[in-house]
Structures are given as C-alpha cells and as structure tokens.
C-alpha cells in the first residue's frame, strides 16, 4: 500500500469489541489497512470474521453492546473516532455513504422513492425540496433507471430487488461521497442483476473517482471489482495484497483454501473443496493463531503465538508463521 499515492482513508489498529454476557467478543482486533482515493478495496472473509463490523466502525455505527475500543480512522485530515457525534453525522451520507446487503428492507416501506432520495440532499447539501426533487430525477437516471419522474412517486414494494439496490446506490451517491462502503451489495440479488450492479459501481468509480470499500465473501465479486484485497479471519487481517497478486500468489493457508473452494469452469470435481473445521468462537481466543486448528500446514509455533502481519514483496502482507524467518518447521 505504501507505493500508492493519495490515501483517502486509513484505518490504524482498529479494535471493536462486543461486551456480551458470555465475555468480550473481539469482532475486530487490531485491524489496519488504507483506502486510496478512487480505488476499490475489498474486505473478504466468511461470516462472522468481522468485515461488516469493520465497515460499521468506519461509519461509527456499531450498535450496543459493541464498542470501538482503540485505533484511529483517518479520513482526510481528521480522525473519525475523535469527531463529535454531530460532526460525524454531517459526514455520514455526505462524505461517506453506505449501501447495504438487503435492498428490500433498506428502504422505508411507507415513503416513496422520491421522498427518500431527497432526504440526504436536503440534509447535507441544504437544497430546497424543489431543487432536491429535480436533482433526484437526475440521480435515478444516473443509476440506469428509466422514467425517473414516475419512479420518484413509486413505493419500494413496487420495485424489484435489483431496482431497489440501484435506488440505494442513487441515495448513497446523492451527495457525491468520497468513500462508498458497500456491504455485500449483491448478496441478496440474483446473478444477472449482480453483474449489472457491479458494472454500475465500477462505472461510478471511474466517473466520479469515488473510493469503494467493498465488503464481500464472494471472490468472484472481488476479482471483478477490487484493486486491493484485505482478507480477514476471526477479527484480524491475515493477508493483504493487490488483487492480481493475491489471486496468483496467495500465501496464507486460509486464503489458499478460499481460492481452492471456488468452482472452476471446465473442471469436474466430485465435491467442491471446503476448508475443514469451523470459524472459532471469538470469545476467549487464546494466544494461538486463530486458524491453527483448521490449518493444513500448522506448525508448533502456531499453537503458541499469534503471527504478526509482515510486509513481503509486491505489496503483499501476510500474517503467517510459514513466511517468518527462523521458525522451526518440526512437527
């Protein structure tokens, strides 16, 4: 990442813990990465690895009992974690926008599309209702929906999931954000619509130089969208690399497993590969590497100490003992 110029946002040592009755869940534990302006950074991992919590932490919208414990989120020249709530609210929907996984439930069922589109325009850009309405028709056209005027009067239940996701994107784009957080934006959509939405997001990135933080578990989406990939496991970043480097030369056994478990067109297999075991409980994770129990190339040291993320060549970062110098390889 260091070679890239013009960093838009930088997350440094972010830790978000959930204080539950059973104990402290370290949903996000000492996570660092940065988002260059106008690029797409994908955060990948399976359910419960902390990728959504990372996104919500950037927005500072982690719900109770979750709390951002420490770290720094630099956005431009300010630290988001130090802003007052009012200042943060001014950023949300304005400089940082977010698109959710479920377009069907992300819009208020009793308000028309138009009423919901004009809200951020009126709130952040201080437009009058009339100006905002005129502007919103343009936004709808921009996300590739025809008959904008009619669409403004429609209610969410009248539209399909793909259309609603376009509307959500239109709402997110309304104030020309510098950073768009997309939390599994295509998971709830069917495959053809997925491709359209991804095209739309790519088009937006190219047009308006909006950086995208893409949260996903779908490596196909990553390949299509991302410039840079962050792989998370059990609340930690375990590998980070430019997208081509990661796909060609995965280093962490977990990333390798993820890539192996993708179906490949033209290759027949009895069963798709799957990584053995399950994601560990996030409560009371010991000192061992969280992936040790599932790892095919586990070393003795893996069960004693957790590896630290270290820089390799080609901007490739990995947290694994296999790539550390002077580690005993004996079982």
């Amino acid at each position: 990442m260091t070679t890239m110029t013009n960093t838009l946002a930088e997350i440094k040592g972010l830790s978000t813990y959930f204080h539950t009755e059973e104990g402290i869940v370290k949903a996000v534990d000492d996570v660092s990465f940065s988002i260059p302006a106008g690029r797409t950074v994908a955060v990948v991992g399976e359910s419960g690895c902390g990728k959504s919590v990372t996104a919500l932490s950037v927005m500072r919208l982690v719900a109770e009992p979750g709390r951002i414990e420490k770290g720094e989120i630099r956005f431009g020249d300010q630290d988001l974690l130090r802003l007052r709530e009012g200042e943060m609210r001014g950023l949300r929907g304005n400089d940082i926008a977010m698109v959710f996984q479920e377009p069907m439930s992300s819009l208020n069922p009793v308000l028309t599309i138009g009423e919901q589109l004009i809200e951020p325009l009126m709130e952040h850009r201080l437009l009058s209702k009339k100006e905002a309405r005129a502007e919103s028709a343009g936004l709808i056209t921009r996300v590739g929906i025809p008959r904008a005027e009619e669409m403004l009067k429609a209610y969410p239940h009248e539209l399909s999931g793909g259309m609603l996701q376009r509307i959500m994107i239109a709402i997110a784009l309304s104030c020309q954000p510098k950073l768009l957080i997309a939390d599994e934006p295509t998971t709830a959509l069917d495959v053809t619509v997925q491709a359209q939405i991804l095209d739309l997001l790519n088009g937006i990135k190219a047009e308006s130089n909006t950086a995208i933080l893409l949260i996903t578990h779908d490596l196909g989406v990553v390949a299509e969208m991302a410039d840079h990939v962050v792989v998370m496991y059990a609340g930690k970043v375990i590998e980070e690399a430019p997208v081509i480097e990661l796909f060609q030369n995965p280093r962490h056994p977990y990333t390798k497993g993820l890539l192996r478990s993708k179906p490949v067109i033209g290759r027949r297999e009895e069963r798709l590969y799957s990584i053995p075991g399950q994601v560990p409980q996030l409560i009371g994770l010991g000192e061992a590497c969280a992936f040790a129990d599932r790892c095919e190339s586990c070393l003795p040291v893996c069960r004693e100490r957790r590896p630290v993320i270290t820089q390799g060549e080609n901007g490739h970062l990995v947290a694994c003992w296999l790539y550390e110098e002077g580690v005993s390889r004996d079982e």
């Binding site: 001014g90 949300r92 308000l111 996300v143 025809p146 008959r147 539209l159 095209d199 088009g203």
Partner: protein
C-alpha cells in the same frame, strides 16, 4: 426519459410491472375497507350523523335556547317531530346541536391524545434509557388511576370553581385526552421499538439524518395504520366518557346541550316512565354512533393491518 442516461451503460434496466398509477399502501387499504360491508355501513352512518348535526340545525325553525311559553313536555307532533322538553325547546334541534358538541368533544379529545401519545411514545421508544423511563412511568401512573372516579373528581372540582358552561367543553376535552394518551403512548412506543431495529432505520443512520426527521418522517408514519385504528376506536370511548360525565352533570353542563346532559331527564321517574321522547333520542344517538364507530374501527383494522386479524 432515458435519453440522457448515457452515464452508465445499461441494457435491460428492468421495468416496473404496472405503470398505470402509483399504488400507495393507502389505496390498497381503502379497497379492502370498501369490501367490508359493516364498516362501510358504519362509515356512511357516521357521515350522515355528521351532516345531521352540522347542517341539520340550519333547517330547523326552532332557535335553540328559546323557551317557548306553553309548549312544555309536548310529545312528538307535526310541529315538533321529537317533541319538546321541560322548557319547551324542540328536542330534534337540541339533539342536533348536542351532537355537534358530543362529536366535537370526541374527535378533539382523540386528536389531542393521539398527538400527545404518539409524540411521547415515539420519543420514549426512540431514545430509550432514562427518557423512556420517565415518560413511561408517568404514563403508568396515569393508567393505574381508574379513569371514571378521576373524571368525576375533576368534574366536581370544575363545578366548584364555577367554570362557565362554554369553557367546560374544552376542559372536558382536555380531561379525556389526558386520560387517553398513556395507552396510545405505550402502543406507539412498542411499535417504535421494533421499527428501530429494522434495516431501513440503519439506512437513515447511515445517511446522517437528524433524530427529528428519523422519528417523525421515518418512524411515525409506519405506526400510522395502528394509530388510525386506535384513534377511531378511542373516539367512541371519548364520546361515551363525555356522555357519562355530562349525564352526571359533571361534564358539559346546560344550557350547552350534549347527548349526555340531554339524557339527564331520565333521572326523573315521571320523565323516565311517561316521556320517553325526552331521553330516547339522545340515548339512541349515542348508542348508534358508538356502534358505528366501532364497526368502522374494526373494519379499518382489518383493512390496514391484516396481521392483526384474529
């Protein structure tokens, strides 16, 4: 419309199924309501009753409050369709004027209690914590006091203070809504609590909207179906409470007529036994209006919120 859509290339952007007219949730509900014959009957009756009370007196040759010399307690006749009362006033005219008061008291106190109840309930449900505790405990206290004795006490105090008859109407409205809002606030609060967990509320959070907007534009409209039903039914309750109070002489007091204080004549044994035209019309009016409101309310409930159907 898509002429200038050249920004992002799209081949098949999906088309809305029906493009004729925006099918708002309200249109759906109205269609369902129309199918419910009892509810429509109730609605029609209420409209007629409203017209009867507001427009009716304009056609009456009898000016209210004019005490005619000799026509005391006349039974129904061609001149006085429903007879006259003990002061020689035309019962039909008085019934209409009383209806104005009773309906106004019912609707106004409903509006006031809906206003107080929904705002306080929404605020309590949205902010939770200490705000919630304060508001809801206050509501609980109001709810634990049996309403009728409280109303009677308040009415008696009003009588002692010699509040003029004209003002009493407003005070009765206020009294009824003070007793009405806690139930509504509870209902709204519970709805807001579940609604706040919905994803679209997280979306408003992400947009950086103000709390005021979140509560009044996003949350409250979602409780509207329930609110309408409860509000409708509470009009019936308010009319009944007003009647009870006025009947006891503690609500709206003469000379201002209300259905309740017209019924007052039933207190005298002779009137009760021998002159049913004095108390039957207001009694029937109260009965029929309350039934009609309840039918409409039930119909609205079925139409607006099919899930609530038993």
């Amino acid at each position: 419309m898509s002429a200038n859509a050249g920004t992002v290339s799209e081949k098949n952007p999906g088309v809305r199924a029906k493009s004729a007219k925006p099918a708002s949730p309200w249109a759906h509900a109205f269609r369902r309501l129309r199918k419910n014959r009892l509810a429509v009957t109730g609605l029609v009756f209420l409209i007629l009753m409203g017209l009867f009370c507001t427009v009716g007196p304009l056609f009456s040759p009898y000016v209210d409050e004019r005490v005619t010399g000799a026509n005391f307690n006349r039974p129904p006749s061609a001149q006085n369709w429903l007879g006259t009362d003990n002061l020689g006033r035309d019962i039909l005219t008085r019934l209409m004027l009383a209806g104005r008061i009773s309906l106004t008291v019912g609707i106004a106190s409903m509006l006031l209690s809906v206003l107080i109840g929904s705002v306080l309930g929404a605020v309590a449900g949205y902010y939770r914590g200490i705000v919630d505790q304060v508001i809801m405990r206050f509501a609980d206290v109001l709810m634990t006091i049996p309403s009728l004795p409280l109303l009677i006490i308040m009415g008696a105090v009003l009588s002692d203070l010699k509040v003029p008859s004209d003002y009493r109407i407003y005070i009765v409205m206020l009294m009824l809504s003070i007793l009405g809002w806690p139930g509504l606030a509870r209902l709204v609060r519970s709805q807001i609590l579940t609604l706040s967990q919905r994803e679209f509320m997280q979306a408003t959070e992400v947009l950086g909207l103000r709390d005021r907007r979140k509560i009044f534009v996003h949350l409250l409209p979602n409780t509207l179906p329930l609110l309408i039903v409860v509000a409708t039914l509470s009009v019936a309750g308010a009319i009944l409470s007003e009647s009870v109070l006025s009947y006891l002489g503690l609500g709206v007091t003469p000379p201002t007529p209300s259905w309740g204080n017209m019924m007052d004549s039933a207190n005298s044994l002779i009137d009760f036994q021998k002159r049913p035209w004095l108390w039957m019309p207001p009694g029937v009016a109260i009965f029929a209006t309350v039934i009609a409101i309840n039918l409409l309310g039930e119909g609205l409930r079925d139409a607006l919120d099919p899930k609530m159907k038993k």
